[in-house]
Amino acid sequence: MTDLIERRERIEKAYLAEKKLSFGEFWKNRLAVSGILLITVLCVLALFAPDLAPHDPLAQRLDSRLLSPSLEYPFGTDELGRCIFSRVIYGTRISLGIGLLVVAATSVAGTSIGLLSGYRGGLLDEVIMRGVDIVMAFPNIILALVVAGLLGPGFSSVVLALAFTQWPAYARLVRGQVLSLKKRAFVEAARALRPSGFYIMRKHILPNCMEPVIVLGTLEIAHVIIFASALSFLGLGIQPPVPEWGSMLKAGIPYLRTAPHLTFFPGLMIIFTVFAFNFAGDGLRDSLGQPADQEVLAR
């Protein structure tokens, strides 16, 4: 199973090679910059939702149900007369919140575990890697589904479920980095000077691992947002009336023929958000490049 993931990494490298060959210098920057621009837009939407949304996202107006998009309701209204535009804007808070929370938690946890596992090696490494294998033995939706399902609906169960499934990626990534860094000369030199493992891990190895982790983290935000929407879409995550895009999609299904705008706009928003983070992640991957070549020898 580990082989497959190594192959995955080789695949990723090939992907990187492709990126370097196909986009010129200009494009490389364009990608990252436009991605970050889009993300900024999203953050603005999330932070200033109360000011930007024309209506209260929870306000039901049963006399204005299922209205098509108009000037007053730019995205129309849903089955309870709520303004979809406002709900979509407020939904940014939820999705970005989940994305950032989960990625923050998993990246820190996963990186630490990977660092420990790679640096210490031996039995600890074997045990941790088997743990990683076991978590990865489930298609991640399945695991998240079951955890979210068993814990019950709600924000916290979504976060927990996703955190549980997503941490191995970081652990594997960082462990790989650590293993190749361990062999490099400057680490040997550092060990000779001051053998405390913790210090070396912190000062020498960690800084060199950060770049791929940042790239992965950015792409993971996109992944987590889709994932969270999927869980809510199935009814296992965020529940209505909270304006989460996935659950809004689900609510729109019965009206798919008569009022498709209920499903159309939240979906577009998901695509836009994911696209933004994918763009940024790809661009970051290009400009940060292969990190193994840079030696950040901390003083």
Binding site: I11, I134, A137, P139, G149, T263, N278
Partner: protein, 313 residues
């Protein structure tokens, strides 16, 4: 070669053992007393304390946890996955009944994905940086960003509700395959196309391609006999991994299209709080996934002689 397979099998066994532990503990993750939950499912709302206690004894829930695990494991090894709390049917039998639908959908989706991705990726690499290439890559970047549940709904709206060409749910004829397989296949195709292109570009930059041309071979031979043979290796591995994932992971698409597969079974049993079924499904899916990964590993060894043989000097 056999050494390689044996090593892999050993690892898979360890992993599966761990999986059983995880599946077992699912019962205890849920808030509440397992005995109560089972009682609720079986007898409905009107429960008495004595009913719960009797249940606890009969189901062996009063034994220490590790004993329960071992007993449960024993049942598993005899291929007894227990009975559904809802229908009282044999769990494993139900799973096997729903398995064919999932497998068929997985195969159909894989075929559609490869049909789209391979030509797109290969052409993209050969016509690098042309309009065709850039547009294909842009489309695939967008494709990667579209959640498959939204795509599914879009396709339903377009083909089933508006154009009325294909059915939006159900199982039975070839027509029923189209929309769900298209949904899954397109998402996979986006990633696979990018991978194919990247891999082929990397291979084309290798010295042995120049060396092949130096022997006077024509471009077609160089491409098919030398370049593609190498470039498609990671693509095959990836497709295999995707297939394994589809065998258990197509829950969303199966739910949208009411496709009677394992994914839908799992989702339904989660809502029904049918713990035995949940455990059984999760276990089955994980084992299936692990074994498909093993098969892909072996396949790779078969195709790539560098893995197959040790260095013999």
């Amino acid at each position: 070669m056999w050494e390689y397979i044996a090593k892999r099998l050993a690892m898979v066994s360890v992993v599966i053992a761990g999986v059983t532990l995880v599946a077992f503990s699912a019962m205890y993750l849920a808030p509440g007393d397992p005995a109560e939950v089972i009682a609720l499912a079986r007898y409905g709302e009107d429960l008495s304390a004595s009913q719960i206690e009797t249940l606890r004894e009969t189901e062996g829930l009063d034994a220490p946890v590790h004993m329960q695990y071992l007993i449960w494991l024993g049942h598993l090894l005899r291929l007894d996955f227990g009975k559904s709390l809802v229908t009282s049917e044999d769990v494993l039998a139900e799973i096997f009944q729903k398995l064919p639908a999932t497998v068929e959908l997985a195969i159909a989706s894989l075929l559609i994905s490869l049909l789209i991705a391979l030509p797109a990726g290969i052409l993209g690499a050969l016509r690098k940086n042309t309009l065709l290439d850039s547009s294909c890559m842009f489309v695939s970047l967008v494709g990667v960003s579209i959640p498959n549940f939204w795509l599914g709904l879009l396709l339903i709206w377009l083909f089933a509700l508006t154009l009325r060409i294909f059915p939006s749910f159900g199982y039975g004829s070839l027509k029923h395959f189209v929309l769900p397989a298209l949904t899954l296949g397109s998402s996979m195709a986006a990633v696979t196309a990018r991978l194919t292109r990247a891999s082929l570009l990397e291979v084309l930059g290798q010295e042995y391609i120049v060396a092949a041309r130096a022997r006077g071979l024509d471009e077609r031979t160089v491409l098919f006999r030398h370049a593609l043979k190498n470039a498609l290796l990671p693509v095959v591995t990836f497709a295999g991994m995707q297939f394994g994932y589809l065998l258990g992971g197509a829950v969303i698409v199966e739910s949208i299209f009411s496709w009677p597969g394992i994914g839908k079974l799992l989702v339904d049993s989660i809502f029904a709080r049918d713990f035995s079924m949940i455990q059984g499904c999760v276990l089955f899916i994980a084992v299936l996934f692990s074994f498909s990964s093993l098969v892909v590993d072996i396949l790779y060894a078969v195709l790539d002689p560098r893995i197959r043989y040790d260095r013999s000097d």
